[in-house]
Symmetry: C2
Subunit: 472 residues, 2 copies
């Protein structure tokens, strides 16, 4: 289903900036250990994301709920941020019509979908200004139940909905996706008469796309969510063990090999930038989802032994062929500080033939009769060759077409790779301690009880020295 | 109009990963030289982007053309890529309603705008599938007049328009924005009966947003393009000379200082990643425009002396507060390899008060009565403080509100900074030799005459070794 091509990461092919077969070989004991560590955490039920592909009962429940919502509403708004939005956006842009929200009602497979994913007031105003709230349902997604951005947005939406449909009926316009028991949102659900979906306690935000977090917004737009889960399941079940030796088959496990190469590229070859370059316009937002997965999981100050390591590649989103006209100059001629993962798709749903015209105009004539897909793929292959020829490590994750199964598989493959590479770094892949301090300062500034000290600390911080503020 | 705050780049404030005042001081002679080099190129008419803010005649012509198009059409499609699309998108998302294309006709200030910026066939199919071509005008933008992606898209659109409106009338549906005399597109304009706008020969794609490239799509959506130019002009004219000494006033020139800091951060402090973090949802696509400007201008293999330097920071797009839930963990705890430029906006057009509700629920109550804008700004300041406290170099470009003048000024400021830093690197800021080889391979694969050798070279390149292609 998914082919992961490591050829152009190899030193044997690209020279000094690649990883040698010998270096991978030498890592094998640690790779087996990484696999075993993850398997152990999975068996101990610490890593809930492993169970998600198998929860067909949830998929059926959500499909039913979606059918009900499709009867009652026209618009579906996700109130969530980060891990409660990026997967939703990625599914939408991969699997639905590129101008989905603009299609007339008959031509769409479901509700219009809006995922503001930010609290810039001008952004939210734009959405609320547009929508008829009588026909709008909001899905508030926050695992903790008290994410400041999502709760604020919810309070605003709630007031507007009450104004529009009245206090008795407003609860029908909200679905809460949150922890099974913890958190404020769960607490108020009964008195608000809001339906609830559960985020399992052991599923972190950035690993939650295949949970209730990502599935409902997908289902209301007509995505086959069972097939999404099936794709993930296939990737999981494809991880084979050598039964005789009782060991993982490293060379048949793309996620584990991907972890090995990227780990060595970072720590040995100093490739501190990881470009996720989607040669599919539809998969561009998978790169944004990946940015969170990679950055929050691996960007860590200390390892599990408590040693200060300041780990973490910077993931960057890039889109082919667009970024050939923006970033490729840098990739080809700039510093040897990057590794590129190309996302590659063989077939399009709607290829288009370029008409033969202007046969006397050389710069046009050679294009006639080819398809736009040909041009796209030729440019992709040309770019892959040039970055390889100039010694830049690059790999490719190839799928035959963008559909539910491939996308589910792709999510799961990248999650697996992240889990394994975290073990190689020997860090806690699943926490995010670095964001707490910023939240605390914000709470202090907002006057939240218990954060008075943070407010004082903020106020005591150095003010800008006006000599270093320069105006145009 | 624009305040550029360098405080948190200073070693005196953030420690070893910052640039000391002494280091900036030592660079002053080279900064003066950089300024003089750019001034000389400008005087020799090599840098056309300097003239754009003063071309009010063009602005008036385009405003008139836009008024005409607004009478005749409903949809405006930009066929362009890279420098012929990124500025157009940035203006659109900064200055128009966040759901602009979804607004009903009466509520929009002009035509619906589509900028596919890619040739993925599924993407283009989506646009063509949606639009009534009777009411659609296409703006084909390519300076060379033979960009393969844009010409292919044009040929497809042309055939569809001819099918819809007939061969006699189809020319009215196309406007060509291209070189004054060179290139195939200019050549066919008369026989196609297409209107033309000119891209000045000395304006490169990534410096062209304030030329005919960016202005027409802005004008048809109701943007005040004179004010855009005015903003740029003010930034240009704000560059003051010390008349007595005949020297640039470095400490009053934010673009020059920005160049100084970023140059030293890259070459001395090894900050090879430059995050453009927009704390304004509306300015998020300015970061994508900046990515091209910075990457293509500075990503160079050799300097002007011919020495191999492999220069160039990797620019990355980031959006606040969204990326606090995705990237900030990495910024705060990861490697010391980044510098962040925050884009910061003081006022929103439509702030929204968070309603007081659930006074008994602590996690909600503290938010009531604040505005969403308060929350947004508190989070911004908190994030700035945390990255500063953890010793990460960061600066901020602050505007009071997102409007035409500020946006035009912002574009120009970043262009100036790029021009100056290119002189410090001593590279050719204005070429992009690294993209030619990829184009040549693609031409070879497409069977274009004269590129047979490239095709052979492509075919002779090593095939993937199947041992290193691993399937799920």
């Amino acid at each position: 289903m998914i082919r992961y091509d490591f050829n152009n990461l190899r030193a044997e092919r690209i020279g000094e900036h690649g990883v040698s077969d010998q270096e991978i070989k030498a890592l094998e004991p640690r790779l087996r250990q990484a696999f075993e560590n993850v398997r152990k955490m999975r068996q101990e039920k610490q890593l809930g994301f492993f169970d998600l592909p198998y929860d067909t009962a949830l998929a059926d429940e959500i499909t039913k709920l979606a059918a009900d919502l499709k009867r009652k509403f026209e618009n579906f708004v996700v109130i969530g941020i980060g891990g409660s939005a990026l997967g939703n956006i990625a599914i939408q842009s991969a699997l639905n019509h590129p101008e989905y929200n603009l299609l007339p009602n008959g031509k769409r497979r479901g509700l219009r979908l809006f995922v503001p994913d930010n609290i810039d007031p001008d952004r939210l105003h734009g959405v609320l200004d547009l929508l008829d709230l009588n026909k709008t349902v909001f899905n508030v997604i926050t695992k903790s139940g008290n994410t400041a951005e999502s709760i604020s947005t919810y309070l605003i939406a709630r007031e507007r909905v009450i104004k529009t449909v009245g206090i008795e009926k407003h609860g029908e316009h909200f679905i809460f996706t949150t922890d099974a028991s913890k958190g404020e949102l769960r607490k108020i659900a009964p008195r608000e008469n809001a339906r609830c979906l559960t985020i399992p306690a052991t599923v972190g935000g950035r690993f939650s796309v295949l949970s209730s977090v990502g599935l409902l917004s997908a289902a209301v737009t007509g995505v086959n969510i069972r097939a999404l889960l099936d794709g993930a399941k296939k990737v999981d079940q494809g991880q084979r063990m050598d039964q005789a030796a009782g060991l993982v088959e490293i060379w048949k496990n793309p996620a584990l090999l991907g972890a090995a190469y990227h780990y060595l590229l970072d720590v040995k070859k100093k490739k501190n930038v990881h470009i996720m370059c989607s040669y599919s316009h539809r998969l561009r937002d998978v790169a944004d989802w990946f940015r969170q997965l990679w950055a929050e999981s691996l960007g860590k100050r200390v390892n599990r032994k408590g040693q200060v390591v300041h780990a973490g590649q910077t993931p960057e989103k890039s889109v082919g062929v667009t970024d050939q006209h923006s970033q490729v100059q840098l990739y080809v001629e700039g510093p040897f500080d990057k590794v590129i993962t190309f996302l590659s798709v063989s077939q399009f749903d709607h290829d288009i033939t370029i008409p033969q015209a202007f046969d006397d105009v050389e710069g046009f004539a050679y294009l006639g009769g080819k398809t736009l897909g040909d041009l796209f793929h030729y440019e992709e292959r040309a770019t892959e060759l040039v970055v390889t020829q100039t010694g830049r490590p690059n790999c490719a994750i190839r799928i035959s077409k963008v559909d539910e199964e491939a996308l589910g598989g792709l999510f799961f493959l990248l999650e697996l790779q992240t889990a394994y590479i975290g073990e190689l770094y020997d860090i806690n892949t699943y926490d995010q301690p670095g964001v707490e301090q910023g939240k605390n300062f914000a709470y202090g500034l907002l006057g939240r009880k218990g954060y008075e000290e943070r407010k004082r600390e903020f106020e005591a911080a150095a003010r800008p020295d006006p000599r270093f503020v320069v105006s145009t």
